[in-house]
Symmetry: C3
Subunit: 461 residues, 3 copies
């Protein structure tokens, strides 16, 4: 009962325990962990098992009976056995009629079976009320009490009362039930613990693809070109110099891609004159993964910051600076400070720092616990206003830094533009279109459309 | 019902659905989104609408009836129409008598009307039980299921049972109800989604004001003075050098301002000899925005760190270092290492790093999800003990760094003290008074007062 | 009632208030704060007090009666008095028979009394149903409404119905009840608010011990040895150079210690051929504090990063670099760039940056609000796969950086190995054994054992 279970007073007979008895079929890891936890929360627990010999792994306040006997003692039966053994339940159909069966099973692969385990159970035993629950919680998390991974238990089922009974048990165990609707949702719930960052897949593959492309592009222009035409072996650029060119480019492009779908949506709504038609599928999907795109952009930006700050520690940079100073000393003169160079150097650094600062702020507000504490208007203010400000600052940072190369022919090695120019295409396009969209003559109809106004209304009320 | 709504088995008639019918007046965005979500959670939904022609935007399992017919079918009626149309409900007063009306409306401006929408509704229909709820949730959040912004639903109302019914629906939708008391709280609840960081207003304006002052102060002393008397054009200091003087000053002052109200409170309690009298209003407000002040101070400190680390990349710094080395080379000698200079340089850097490290730790523990996981004693230990340690380290960092200027006359340009000296006034004052307060002869009576002891008790028991 | 309590309409008599009356014994800070909050949530509150004279600190909608009278009016009595006064309740035993007594008391020290206050209360009044609750919430948090510290209320008690009644009140106050089982758990609950980071104790002491050892080790080799044999006064190394040697060593060792217990567990399970026997106690404890070890390692790694980035600002580093350049200039030659040096320098920096990046990612996912939003598989993927990748990168970073010293005799001052070599022992051992464990011939039986297979099964089913 208690953590030091030496004391057995807790559930002594004189305790007027009013909680309904719960039956658990199966004495595997999860069945035992769940039973243990339920006894702690005051539920009498009965195990249904093939062998009624009591193992010392089973919580000692629990009874162990045959399946049929155990089922008769309780209104709720937790099916802690694997799907392939479900058919042995069919002979018990009569006993299980009207009872609440809780399917807690998980599969090994996404969509392993045509129908979900819970629906399969409901088909086998049409007289019982099947509820899907507990599959997102692991036996280990239940036992250790450290529910770091998740306290959420998704519940679904066709019978509302049965679902309510199960949700009460979930709450009593200190977990948070989340009603996902009818048993149709079981497939989704069973797939949930098998998913590996489904929302991140597209953003990550996109980033990997773009990163590879830009890396090879830089490799060609900075290492191979230099080696062929200038006979310099700059192969060590692979470690820091090239990553520090690819990272800011990726950060800027991905940040612009966060705001691009919003621009598309506005144009589509303006064109259609209504908000009541669905966006094309690709746009919907894109809008749903904006947060992930933004966070990956932030990761690239952070890497860029560290790669940049590390520069003075690099042997190459130290050698280059030393060379410059030595040549000044050998020529017996000190170069005067060029005020324009100082201005450019300081202002692109300052723009980058402020842009990154706002970007980190965006990242912090997208932490679930922070975003749960702000209201809708505040969330939009941070994510939209501050986000655009960050995009403007980061674009300006790149423009000031790389500006001098635009008109220099030496920047066009093999007639290819420098990577900086490539990185500026998307962000500049986004900023220009956004600038047009905030003109009153465009913004006013858009706001009306978003408040429900339709140019050609087709539906009554 | 389910996400792929092609399958219609979920709420088939044989499902013994026991949830009470809910009626929704109004078929706008929010009414539809809410109805859709309720059907998913097993509630039969009836729409009351002016036109009963079924639009294909309305969830297809919902009935659409006239207002009067729909209202008769349910005990709970959700009023998803705008306040200016509330008066059309008066003819229905008889039908709505005794029913629970849920006001979900929001205004466009803070305190737009003299009384809250919910109170206005209650006045129009005195026979109904009005409950305010759902106004903090957006239609978009309900539809998309990604409740990033907030899962909290504030509920208030004069009838406890009605409130309970509404809170059960809120829970069934997977949201978290928060009881805010009687209908008087409706005004506050309606203002909530319109607020834009109300707790941050004062700290942000204070920071902006101080930042502007210190920026102009630095501009005068570092750029204008140098230009007039030394004919040097250091205008590019505006980009990094001056921000990097203002940021640490702001961080230090704001951090001290976090601990100053606690000092005032202790002095007031000691003077009054009781804790049972309210603090002056300004002190109460100040104490409530300490967290915000601290986070802004952390932002300034972070900017200071990045601005400082970026120094070796600046053209100006590289030029200055190069000039020094070239002049050494031209004079044909190497300056020996001065151990004192090395000590001062290393120790102020180390003090700053440790102070900033503790400061970041404070920031992390003030994240809602972290602070929810520590107990009261742990929270106070971190925020008070570690906070003061951070303040001591940061003050020492500034003292060691700027110490040499205190006695140098060249630091007093235009007879004005250096910005470092200004920044040290508040933190040093806080630390000195705090040091006095922890003396046993002062600490003991203060602890007694805080445990409820009174020097001149006036109240019985 | 409401925040602006000038208006008294909220709980006017015509409001059909159905919530049960709650009685509070004691009018101290917590009793008053709790009463105030309950009235706001619609509970009629009666105070039981020695003196029935109404103080203006008591919420004005509450009645104040004698203890006996007040107790008769309610089914739930909150005992807001200190344990040493509990015995005055014994004369009221008859009146309190069958009633729910809520013990909210806290002690001043861990395990101050042999039995918990709640159990003591239950012994004094065996006819009443004692429930422990509310002790983790402070009066200040209740009053101010800013429940930053914690919204969780641990509840325990032997009577399930009584516990349910108390948990309903907890929920109505906007707090989250957590059922901790029978009254035996009261001791643990009462100790909870007195704990100061219990899970952190061992990791922090371990870190302090190791840090001291490595600091003295470095002090001896870098400062004292240099002073004795090379007559150089490098005492200022204490501020930055030595901390920046100790921090990475600590970070690497602690990170390896996070993964070492998992290795031990795998070996023990392989050896025993079953997972159904408990690990030795030290291993269990070690496994439970892995998160804390990892976070301390992250703190050391972050300090290492900042200490390293700050290097170019140090007077010592500037002097050393300047000396090198001046000597080049005086010798009238520029050293050519050594490509190998550039490769080593860049690659250990890049490895360190990537390792640190993954490490920070691990830290972010261990934030409660983030880890609550990922499923079990995702959590394990990040913590295990990314964690090992981070360990590999950090170990490689150290190997590339310190590699050149392994074979250099000058690195063995006083015949002692350099600190880098010491730091590599544990991580290399972990990585080698882990590499063996992922071989299919070892991994397959291990996976089977972890799925419940036993080499010598002893228990039925």
């Amino acid at each position: 009962m208690n953590k030091n279970s030496s004391n057995i007073m807790a559930l002594a007979p004189n305790t007027p325990n009013k909680r309904e008895t719960v039956c658990i079929f199966g004495t595997g890891d999860f069945g035992r962990a769940l039973g243990h936890q339920m006894i702690q929360s005051g539920y009498p627990v009965v195990y249904g098992s093939r062998s009624t010999q009591i193992s010392n792994l089973i919580p000692k306040d629990a009874e162990v009976l045959s399946h049929a006997e155990a089922a008769q003692k309780a209104a709720i039966i937790i099916i802690a056995i694997q799907r392939q053994h479900y058919n042995f339940l069919t002979p018990l159909a009569e006993i299980l009629r009207g009872k609440v069966l809780v399917d807690i099973s998980n599969n090994l692969k996404l969509n392993q079976y045509p129908e979900s385990n819970a629906e399969y159970l409901a088909q086998l035993l049409p007289g019982s009320k099947v509820v899907k629950a507990f599959n997102t919680v692991s036996a280990w998390a239940l036992q250790s009490g450290t529910l770091d991974a998740s306290r959420q238990v998704f519940v679904c089922g066709d019978d509302v009362e049965a679902k309510q009974m199960v949700m009460n048990i979930v709450r009593a165990l200190g977990l948070t039930p989340l009603d996902k609707g009818s048993l149709l949702a079981a497939q989704e719930i069973e797939n949930f613990p098998l998913q590996l960052f489904p929302m991140w897949k597209f953003p990550i593959f996109l980033s990997l693809g773009l990163t590879t492309f830009f890396f090879l592009y830089c490799l060609a222009l900075d290492v191979i070109y230099t080696y062929i035409y200038e006979k310099n072996n700059f192969s060590f650029f692979i470690a820091i110099t090239i990553p520090n060119r690819v990272c800011p480019v990726m950060a800027l492009i991905l940040l612009a891609l966060v705001y691009l779908p919003g621009i598309f949506a506005a144009i589509i709504q303006l064109y259609r004159g209504t908000k009541y038609r669905r966006f094309p599928d690709w746009l919907d999907k894109w809008m749903l993964c904006r947060k992930q795109l933004g966070l990956i952009a932030l990761a690239f930006a952070s890497l860029h910051v560290v790669f940049t700050l590390v520069a003075p520690l690099r042997a190459f940079v130290r050698w280059r600076i030393g060379k410059g100073i030595v040549s000044q000393a050998l020529n017996n003169k000190t170069e005067p400070l060029d005020s324009t160079t100082a201005w450019i150097s300081d202002s692109y650094l300052a723009l980058g720092i402020l842009g990154f600062f706002l970007f980190v702020l965006l990242g912090i507000t997208s932490l679930p616990s922070v975003s749960n504490n702000v209201n809708w208007r505040e969330f939009r203010f941070v994510q939209s206003k501050l986000g655009y400000l960050s995009l403007i600052l980061c674009t300006a940072h790149t423009l000031v830094y790389g500006g001098k190369w635009f008109l220099s022919p030496s920047a066009y090695r093999w007639y290819l533009p420098n990577i900086y120019m490539l990185s500026l295409v998307v962000p500049c396009a986004v900023l220009v279109v956004k600038f047009v969209l905030i003109f009153p003559c465009v913004d006013k109809p858009l706001t009306q459309i978003r408040q429900g106004w339709e140019r050609n209304p087709k539906y009554s009320e």
